[in-house]
Symmetry: C2
Subunit: 341 residues, 2 copies
């Protein structure tokens, strides 16, 4: 059905070589030839077959973005930026949901899957360091890790300074005079890196202020979801004395926690101040608007794409760590004045 390079060549009375040259923008083609070939291409409605091209060149032009769940706002906002940044350097992005499945992550990392489709992979992992250490550079395709700070230096990663971000959030709660500061998101069942780092920042900040930490004010959360935040906050409010502030390890947890505070007949921020991490758009329109630590997803996306593109071109590049900036954004949920979104 579809026209091939050969069809075009016959139609234009030239060789496939010439057609190929024209199609791939080769320099040294006479303008007459070029015109003739281009006309034939138009007449036949020829489109290059990317699969055949890939088999030949070994490049698919496809990148995989691996996230736990695409419908978590932080990841969908990151995906938007990654897709945009990738398009600018000629890559298309496939999104892979691991759904909190460790085996799926391992499969992806090890290339047990049908991964030969991708030129490279952007990986926002649940994975623990222990799991990653079981993966060797040779097993995996070009890879950029997203979000963690401490990995062994074997892989590129665009990191967030989770410890500092958590400390900044906690310091803010301390600065507005709160003394019983709870945390939601610490220590899920498994030893994920992100919650460990955020707990470290939270703990350090409290200790520096001589305020704790008090283990009874720390709650786990499996999925960083609104439901988890709601449940954890409800349980925290039953403590006595109850906390006067909650630091949530994600904005989504914070949205759930805020709703739990209201359902308990209390006010945010008067009775309980709340702060999250991520700066998802939802928090800017919530009532009260959500104080948070902004992670620069456009920066993360751009750096990650630049890095993966470079590594695909030269796989021998030494691994590199880029730390993305973060920024404390006080809003109404910690007593800041209302600002029109």
């Amino acid at each position: 059905m579809a026209a091939t390079l050969r069809d075009v060549a016959e139609h234009a009375n030239v060789s496939v070589r010439t057609v190929s040259n024209v199609v791939s923008g080769y320099e040294h083609v006479s303008s007459k030839m070029r015109a003739r070939v281009e006309q034939a291409i138009d007449e036949l409605g020829y489109r290059p077959n990317p699969v055949a091209r890939t088999l030949r060149t070994g490049r698919t032009g496809l990148l995989a973005l691996v996230v736990p769940e695409i419908d978590v706002p932080y990841f969908s906002e990151l995906a938007r930026d990654v897709i945009t940044a990738a398009a600018e350097v000629g890559y298309q992005v496939m999104i892979d949901q691991t759904g909190h499945d460790h085996e799926r992550e391992q499969d992806l990392l090890r290339g047990t899957d049908r991964n030969m489709l991708f030129d490279g992979m952007l990986f926002a992992p649940l994975a623990t360091e222990a799991e990653l250490s079981g993966v060797t550079e040779s097993q995996t395709m070009p890879l950029v890790l997203l979000g963690e700070h401490t990995f062994d230096g074997r892989f590129d990663h665009v990191a967030i300074d989770n410890v500092q971000a958590a400390a900044d959030a906690t310091d803010h709660l301390i600065a507005i005079g709160r003394t019983r500061i709870a945390a939601i998101g610490a220590q899920p069942k498994e030893h994920y890196t992100t919650p460990l780092q955020r707990t470290e920042g939270y703990t350090t900040a409290l200790e520096r202020a001589g305020l704790g930490p008090e283990p009874s004010l720390i709650r786990a959360a499996d999925h960083y979801s609104r439901a988890d935040g709601y449940a954890a906050a409800s349980s925290l409010l039953a403590e006595s004395p109850r906390p006067d502030a909650i630091f949530c390890y994600s904005d989504l947890l914070a949205m759930g926690a805020a709703r739990a505070v209201f359902d308990a007949g209390l006010q945010v921020p008067d009775d309980v101040a709340i702060i999250g991490i991520d700066d998802i758009e939802e928090g800017r329109y919530a009532r009260p608007s959500l104080s948070t630590v902004s992670l620069d997803t456009p920066f993360i996306a751009e750096q990650a794409i630049a890095r993966i593109a470079a590594r695909i071109d030269d796989p021998t590049l030494p691994a590199q760590e880029i730390v993305a900036p973060h920024l404390l954004l006080p809003r109404e949920s910690t007593g800041a004045a209302s600002v029109t979104p």
Copy 2:
């Protein structure tokens, strides 16, 4: 580097044909052969090359999901369900953002792009009927349209009854006693189908109740975003007398509208009741929780995947329309009692 079918064949002292048979699960292979081949596969760490397979079979196992913006919750929640449903029948999903770009939509529909990578396409279009009518069945690959109700019958689509959904939402506002019912989302610059249909449902419901419609209470919204909802609602509240209810054509618009009502010093639902469409999770945790019309995204995803899979297998299938159910969900923003999320 990577082992090929031939490497395995040599290693196991059989022909490539036999190895291929084993790999693709062909029936008639003696168990001895199968064992021998499988051992060789393990020893060499062989993985089939999906690109080569694709070149031969013409199937990539890839589906494209085309949406205006992946970070709009409705679309990211839909994407989650589509990815899940696709995985169950052996397809992977690529997400394409059109970013409200009509030309990009046209390119995708016409296959001007590098579309030979996909076996089929799920398309949640901005496109108007006029634009779609410029695309012929032969130009495009297997295609399932998502979300609209009225298309000419040339393409498969999984539709929402937008007219009825909008009427249900409006009827609900009427039923709780509101009489000045505004609308946000009607008639953006261009003649998109969804807003036209929702406006029709809204108008019909008002007329049935003898309440209007009043043109000054209808506002446009370009992107169905929180910002658009905020701006439109702010402008509506300046009307005099001001509306006592707002029907928003998406939940995201409604979230922005609610914030605007609060910033104007008014209460939801006492002063202004608000209802949206989509049933995104954000609305269930918002304060007040958002009344909405739920669209059954898992249903939409499953039906769309089933349909595209069938059409890929048999492109001559007649086009079919499936209408997804919808359900009115009264919550606090229209005066319903609070329910723990």
